[in-house]
């Protein structure tokens, strides 16, 4: 039980000879595994590939936008690029990102279980995801789809090319995979907590994943049926959304956003869970206001289902409906603010170490602040009229998704890398990438807020001259950002082969994964079921305030 940061090269820790990585060799032992940790690794490899593909599309988009004319690619190609960028990044990277990797790896260990409730369903979720990914790839190779990831009707259901069927079904499968993951987490957290692990002793990472899983379960089926309706219309001309047959194109938007708004909370909540763990560890303090942070996750999950119409203020939705959506959207900002204040208060009078996870914590706070605050501009109905469908929106969601979620994912990967791989990464490179990502990200996306207010619409292949200078800045930033992402891809893999051996608890952190499980853990995580006797983050006794 470590209370101090151990010297990385000290010989005090003897990792067990057999761990989950070397317990069985061969492709079959990995592709037919039931071990949640191996499944997490399978996901890590696949989502990295999709991230690279989505990133490639983003690079091509930014190259086109260097000049006002549409001279780099044909309009059709450009439209397919931004569509596939969105589809790949959202369905195949962001939604599974933290839950299917770090979540799959840690949820059983953090609650004190040997595995998730349904290991074979876990493996199935990966295969469904891969089949979806393969279908999506076929769709791309067949020529791609140009509807935008939002598949608005009647363009997608009547006018676009028929690759929309393959790509929509690929999204359907990715969604089904996430339902299986969420279902597994909910059951595991409910029924498989170790003796003494009460709800309020759970790490906040678990609370965040629990809230995420609720959204996955309740929201994803609705996008599934929406895609089915759209596919039926495209394939058979059924008429749900085609006004020529009596259908309503705006009904699609309601159904689509009923999932796709909560989906953004699926994407951000896990990274908030990562933040709680990292802030506590780097400050060596309990998270300030534990219950408030835990309940905020649940509040975000619930309120998140009630705001979808804020994507539709100019769609011909009724003003009164709009008012309801607007006020609840303002309200849903409050729990995120509460979390941010609590993380800040955790650092107050802490003992803060300057390591790579700390750099990611600082970066996340800065970027999520901007992303979250710019949401206030958009819940504002009067202002949203001007900002809707402009680059302001693009900047807002990238600040949250990339500035927030991806930084949370990278930070979490660095934080738990010693546990997952049993190796340490080069610290200098870790810090350098965090800085590159932070700087590159801001340079890429901050100009887009200005572009948006100036009136540059999104999904534009060519644009008026006066928008060029900010677009050039944005593309410049994208190159720095790409480098910031490339580096961890290289040195994390390098560390697997050449990195220093990790101790059991390199950060001196609290938690079953640090204090009981090995680095890397054995196949069944614990020698015997742990019994929990204290609350989370118990670095020391609580002072009476």
């Amino acid at each position: 039980m470590a209370t101090a940061e151990q010297d990385v090269n000290a010989s005090g820790y003897a990792a067990p000879e057999t761990n989950y990585i070397n317990n069985g060799y061969g492709l079959k032992s990995w592709l037919l595994t039931k071990d949640h940790k191996r499944i997490a690794v399978l996901y890590m490899i696949s989502i990295s590939i999709f991230f690279a593909v989505g990133g490639l599309f983003a690079g091509l988009i930014r190259l086109e936008l260097l000049t006002p004319q549409g001279d780099f690619s044909h309009s059709d190609t450009y439209n397919k690029l931004f569509t596939m960028h969105g589809v790949v990044m959202i369905f195949f990277f962001l939604v599974p990102s933290i839950p299917a990797t770090i979540g799959n790896f840690l949820v059983p260990i953090m609650v004190g279980a040997k595995d998730l409730a349904f290991p074979r369903i876990n493996l199935l979720s990966w295969y469904v995801y891969i089949i979806g990914g393969a279908l999506g790839t076929i769709g791309i190779l067949a020529g791609g789809v140009d509807t935008g990831w939002t598949f608005y009707t009647p363009y997608s259901s009547t006018y676009s090319n028929s690759n929309v069927l393959i790509v929509a079904f690929a999204g359907f499968l990715a969604g089904f995979s996430s339902i299986l993951t969420g279902l597994n987490f909910i059951v595991t957290i409910h029924t498989m907590r170790a003796p003494g692990m009460t709800w309020f002793r759970l790490p906040l990472f678990i609370w965040a994943h629990y809230a995420t899983s609720i959204i996955m379960l309740l929201g994803t089926p609705v996008i599934a049926i929406t895609l089915v309706l759209m596919m039926l219309e495209r394939a058979f001309g059924f008429g749900f959304f085609d006004p020529r047959l009596g259908g309503d194109p705006v009904l699609f938007q309601h159904l689509f956003w009923f999932y796709s708004h909560p989906a953004v909370y699926i994407m951000i909540l896990p990274s908030m869970g990562v933040m709680s763990e990292m802030v506590s560890c780097i400050s060596r303090k309990r998270v300030f206001g534990y219950e408030f942070v835990a309940f905020s996750s649940v509040a975000i999950a619930i309120l998140g289902f009630l705001v979808w119409g804020h994507h539709m203020f100019v769609s011909s939705q009724s003003t009164y409906a709009g008012m309801v959506f607007s006020v609840i959207t303002f309200l849903v900002a409050v729990p995120s603010a509460i979390k941010t204040f609590n993380w800040t208060a955790t650092m107050y009078k802490g003992s803060i170490v300057y390591n790579t996870p700390m750099y990611y914590v600082m970066g996340y706070l800065g970027l999520f602040l901007v992303g979250g605050l710019t949401g206030l501009f958009l819940s504002n109905m009067g202002l949203d009229i001007h900002l809707h469908d402009t680059y302001f929106i693009v900047a807002h969601f990238h600040y949250i998704m990339v500035g927030g979620q991806v930084m949370g994912y990278l930070g979490g990967m660095h934080f738990w890398w010693p546990k997952i791989s049993g190796k340490m990464y080069p610290e200098v490179l870790g810090k350098a990438s965090a800085v590159l990502v932070f700087l590159g990200f801001n340079l890429t996306f901050f100009p887009q807020f200005v572009l948006g207010y100036m009136g540059m619409p999104r999904r534009y292949h060519a644009y008026p001259d006066e928008f060029q200078i900010l677009n050039v800045a944005s593309t410049g930033g994208a190159s720095v950002l790409a480098l910031g992402y490339l580096l961890p891809g290289i040195y994390l893999v390098w560390s697997i082969f050449k990195g220093a051996q990790a101790p059991q608890n390199p950060w001196g952190a609290k938690g079953l994964e640090w204090e009981v499980a090995d680095s890397p853990p054995t196949t069944f995580n614990f020698e015997s079921t742990p019994v929990v006797t204290e609350e989370a983050y118990n670095y020391g006794p609580i002072e009476e305030h």
């Binding site: 029924t191 498989m192 049926i225 039926l232 059924f238 008429g239 079953l512 015997s528 006797t533 204290e534």
Partner: protein, 222 residues
């Protein structure tokens, strides 16, 4: 954080999966898992029901007219068949709790047959629609005058009953797997959760039909 350990190396109860501590935890987990899955199915079909609601309110004339094209006799018959199959399924679960292999097998077979009858009737209904040209997109040539939105009603009819039938077919497939396992004697009085959770699924598919039948076949008939 952890102070003590709990030992768990001794006997391994029959049917206990390695990740669970004991049969009680396994049963609780498996039941919660199936209920959670059924909640996703409610949301899934819910999208269809919402679409139905919106268009029914907008086009009452077309929907009444569509309703009259459906064979209320066959629909009612199918409803009875499915309710009976839920009864046989409940009996199968009961028998599996008793540990009666033959009892379970018999009732599962009855459930399978009743499900098959339902699907056969659906096949006849669908064929009739093709003949009468009432299948939007594939065979749409209704004769005589009709409401402009009649195609919308039939799109929902085929979409909803089709999705339901797909769930029945998947259920039938799972039922075959259950039959084989039961025949082999896999389930006992202590280990029968798969039968029970399949029962939950089957009842759910039945309930969906109980909503579909009045909404599609009965509404608007005077």
């Amino acid at each position: 954080m952890a102070a003590d350990h709990v030992d768990h190396h001794e006997h391994h109860p029959y049917g206990l999966a390695h990740q669970f501590e004991d049969m009680a935890q396994q049963k609780e987990s498996v039941l919660l898992g199936m209920w959670s899955f059924l909640i996703t199915e409610i949301l899934f079909f819910g999208g269809y029901f919402l679409t139905y609601l919106v268009y029914r309110v907008n086009y009452p004339v077309a929907f009444n007219e569509g309703s009259h094209h459906l064979d209320i006799g066959l629909g009612a018959f199918n409803t009875v068949v499915l309710i009976l199959s839920s009864l046989t399924m409940a009996m199968a679960v009961h028998k599996s709790h008793e540990g009666s292999r033959n009892g379970t097998l018999g009732y599962l077979i009855a459930t399978f047959i009743l499900g098959g009858v339902f699907l056969c009737v659906k096949y006849f209904e669908y064929s009739a629609k093709f003949e009468h040209g009432l299948v939007p997109g594939l065979a749409w040539h209704p004769h005589g005058e009709q409401s402009p939105q009649l195609a919308l009603f039939f799109s929902l009819y085929f979409g909803m009953t089709g999705m339901h039938a797909l769930h029945m077919i998947i259920g039938a497939g799972l039922l075959i797997w259950l039959l084989v396992k039961t025949a082999k004697g896999t389930y006992t009085a202590e280990y029968n959760a798969p039968v029970e959770i399949f029962g939950l699924y089957w009842h759910f598919v039945d309930i969906v039909w109980i909503f579909l039948f009045p909404l599609l076949y009965l509404l608007g008939r005077h």
